[in-house]
Assembly symmetry: C2
């Protein structure tokens, strides 16, 4: 019914979780507005007013969130200039930001399946070119798909394989 613990973690009653990465991540990006802004960034949006219009968040929230996400290092703020226009800033995803693709689209995948009607929501994620459906989930580095029961947690440096 759940995953297993290996090595020193095997007895769940003997340890508690400090420095949990899930909790830390949620403190950093655990708001609806952050996720919507990231969604737009993955969709190619780079400019302030496009973020605001497309997410339907208010200016104030978008400004606060972009500043926050930039400070954290998910975006870089870079000046740009269209010909005959004044210079502006655009917000470009860093690698740290792009590494959130699995997290954000996993939420989309779950929402499509469980929060939308029978049609599964308005949008589908597919492979570019082939149109083959895309799924997000755990797998080994050698490519095998895994279920919850196939997973195990090990402590750093504690290899029980």
């Amino acid at each position: 019914m759940s995953l297993t613990f290996e090595g020193v973690l095997a007895d769940r009653s003997t340890w508690r979780l400090e420095n949990c990465s899930i909790g830390k991540s949620m403190e950093v990006i655990g708001t609806r507005s952050s996720m919507l802004i990231l969604r737009e960034a993955f969709y190619g949006t780079t400019r302030f007013d496009d973020f605001a219009r497309r997410t339907k968040l208010t200016d104030a929230i978008v400004a606060a969130r972009l500043k926050e996400l930039t400070d954290i290092g998910l975006f870089v703020r870079r000046p740009y200039q269209e010909p005959g226009r004044r210079s502006r800033y655009e917000y470009l995803l860093t690698e740290k930001g792009r590494d959130l693709v699995p997290a954000v689209f996993a939420l989309m995948q779950w929402g499509n399946k469980h929060l939308q009607g029978d049609d599964g929501g308005p949008l589908r994620l597919v492979e570019r070119g082939t149109g083959e459906p895309v799924v997000i989930g755990p797998r080994t580095v050698s490519g095998r798909d895994l279920e919850l029961e196939d997973l195990a947690i090990v402590a750093h440096g504690d290899w029980a394989g």
Copy 2:
């Protein structure tokens, strides 16, 4: 630099996102406490006080969150009885709850890489038995790993492949 839109979505300026699954998901489970409780559930926790102790959330929050998540259908509340003890309730993950495995562990994966020190945090996700490292990310149903640039969005019923 980002994913592409196919079919009727190709011109990003002509449409806006209604009923976004990401937004809906975040409204339902977008709190730190929800994620921590789900983490514990994936780790095998089923009882109220274990949730409270292991997540270090207060009783009040855990009670509120468990009720919420049960109402939504991520948990079922089932009576159980240990021999010589009074009957209690336990909280068991439904399929809807287990389908959040990619979302929750994607956050863990990201936090391990970007929010922890050089050691990458205390815990690692591996395959049970083999100990092979596990990664969470997008791939085609035929098993190819994908980058952000390999992804495309299509409207439901609009197959442009």
